[in-house]
């Protein structure tokens, strides 16, 4: 009890006065929760069926998921204002996936995904400022405005890929490099239920298994590939089994703890040199496929509402924490306020930051090359290309 009080008071010393009231209450330092048993394919045992959540981790996961949520909603707003252009694929509803996966690996591990990538870009370490400024196409964006929504990169995060399925062989290749380098790193290679029918994925499965690559194939199954439901696209919708000879697990993708435990399990499998493994995360997106898709011509509003009210990942975590004395409602509300402010500040930056300079149009065509001339719209328009 004393230890808890002193820890809490120590925390209070760093925070403004309003916090002292909250901090004077003591919380549990952790709690244990039951998580859904994963369906297994070619595995004798799966991840544990309980998970321990510390207060610290809980607050961190909550803040991260809330940040992704508000980031996506802000992107929606900016897109409707035409400040974001082109393609914009939002992942609100799927926050437990990016946050849970990150919680199960190390920063030195690797991750690659497709175009619904804003959440991963954040969990892999970029700031909301850099992300929003990239979405608005400004020089402060993580790709200096050259890439946009689908082409954001960070250390050990290989994007952000526009061509459905192409990222999967890439991920297997990153895993090959991991094995080659011998540092027991793994690569999380993500794709959706729509992409799961791409031939190149099966080619990647085969080689990853043959060569025992430390590749965790992850199917983020949100039930719809653009406007096509899983039943209309796949002869088998048991995505966790479609690696055939690759062991698989089907995970509750709306529960951040379930995702975390499954990821730890999968990573351990790969690090032990057992070869690839496949995880299917059952999740849901609230928005349509992209901002051009209202998302209600192929699914009902009732379905969307049902998921929101019963399975929202942020709500699930919040309820668990509040009901088990890991946090208070007020405290979580304060985090909400903090997150909103952070996103608002980032959006202001992203809207005010200037576009990249025209002189840089030709930059970064090649790597490590001496500068050369790039032809513009006609032979008299020239741009300099610098590596």
């Amino acid at each position: 009890m004393l230890a808890a009080v002193s820890r809490v008071l120590a925390g209070a010393a760093r925070k403004p006065a309003s916090r002292v009231l909250v901090a004077s209450r003591s919380f549990a330092s952790d709690a244990t929760f039951e998580i859904r048993k994963c369906d297994l394919h070619r595995l004798e045992e799966g991840p544990p069926e309980t998970a321990v959540l510390t207060r610290e981790d809980g607050l961190r996961y909550y803040k991260m998921m809330q940040t992704v949520r508000r980031l996506e909603l802000k992107a929606d707003q900016l897109y409707k204002q035409k400040i974001i252009r082109g393609f914009c694929h939002l992942c609100d509803g799927q926050e437990a996936c990016c946050v849970g996966l990150e919680a199960g690996i190390n920063p030195t591990d690797h991750l690659i995904t497709a175009y619904r990538a804003h959440g991963f870009t954040f969990t892999r370490g970029l700031t909301v400022r850099e992300i929003l400024a990239e979405l608005t196409g400004r020089r402060g964006g993580c790709a200096k405005g050259k890439g946009g929504s689908m082409h954001m990169y960070a250390k050990n995060f290989y994007g952000g890929n526009g061509i459905v399925g192409a990222q999967v062989p890439l991920g297997a290749g990153i895993a090959l490099a991991c094995k080659y380098n011998g540092k027991e790193e793994v690569c999380l290679t993500l794709y959706g239920d729509g992409a799961a029918n791409q031939g190149q994925i099966f080619e990647a499965y085969n080689m990853a298994a043959l060569w025992k690559l430390p590749c965790i194939f992850i199917c983020e199954n949100n039930r719809y590939g653009m406007g096509t439901s899983v039943e209309r696209a796949a002869a088998s919708t048991d995505y966790y089994k479609r690696g055939d000879f690759i062991p698989g697990l089907r995970v509750d993708g709306m529960d951040v703890l379930c995702v975390r435990e499954a990821t730890k399990f999968a990573a351990a499998h790969c690090r032990a040199g057992k070869g690839p493994i496949l995880m299917e995360l059952q999740t849901y997106r609230y928005h349509g496929h992209s901002m051009s898709d209202p998302g209600v011509s192929y699914r009902t509003r009732e379905e969307i509402q049902e998921v929101r009210s019963k399975s929202d990942p942020i709500m699930l975590l919040k309820d668990r924490m509040v009901n088990n004395d890991l946090a208070s409602v007020e405290e979580l509300k304060e985090i909400d306020v903090e997150v909103r402010k952070e996103i608002e500040d980032a959006a202001q930056f992203a809207t005010a930051d200037p576009e990249p300079p025209l002189e840089e149009l030709g930059y970064h065509i090649y790597c490590n090359d001496p500068p050369f001339e790039v032809r513009g719209a006609n032979q008299w328009i020239k741009f300099k290309s610098v590596s």
Binding site: K146, S149, G162, I163, G225, L361, I365, W380, I381, F383
Partner: protein, 317 residues
Amino acid sequence: MDEELERDEKVFLLGEEVAQYDGAYKVSRGLWKKYGDKRIIDTPISEMGFAGIAVGAAMAGLRPICEFMTFNFSMQAIDQVINSAAKTYYMSAGLQPVPIVFRGPNGASAGVAAQHSQCFAAWYGHCPGLKVVSPWNSEDAKGLIKSAIRDNNPVVMLENELMYGVAFELPEAAQSKDFLVPIGKAKIERPGTHITVVSHSRPVGHCLEAATVLSKEGIECEVINMRTIRPMDIETIEASVMKTNHLVTVEGGWPQFGVGAEISARIMEGPAFNYLDAPAVRVTGADVPMPYAKILEDNSVPQVKDIIFAIKKALNI
């Protein structure tokens, strides 16, 4: 497509979201409701697979229209387009035709960045055995798709997403169910005397805009809408150059090995070369992967001002 589906029951459409979603860009709106599952088929996201399936169906006598959601995704299936469709009639010495149409939006859109903005006119136009068409306006689109479907050869139709939403006045003749635009014939959209400006797809509109501006300065441009990339109607271009003595080509794709490069080479090989008073000038997309930021994107595609500049340079004004 509706008219051709009605006319010939061997015609069918397959691709991603073409049926129940009414088409990613609503091009096939209403078709599934009218023709059902047998003739309008939603495929999984498996380009290589369904393109191959479409080619196989064509080999067996059906007349498929295979839609690529954009031609960027056709790269995943390009082996089937070239090796299985384009070359087969030749390899079989005339035994095995492949009456297939590959269609979809091509080239730059707005803010869709590098992987979604490539123009494939030069890539597909390079291959013997393929026919490649590139409509600009509604008349082109209607007439060319019908000709493509009725053609017994593999035809690649490069549409343009930004043009889908543009309305054009459709002349009386074009409203007929049997209105066809012949493949392999260019159209002079605007006659002129001082310079020949050749283009295809959306840039044709930019050329006409440039021509209007220049007309006020006393420069009359002859604007040619290629309509077909392969087989190229070089004769129409030659006849025009022999009249105007100057040539500017305009395309959205990259300059190197592009449509303008081919036109320039052919002009040099033919009778029109001796009529040129200045070298041919090419206006193209910038030689970079398409950037996302608006200012960079705007400067990576040919704008009206770039066309005007090129025309004046060619005319030495």
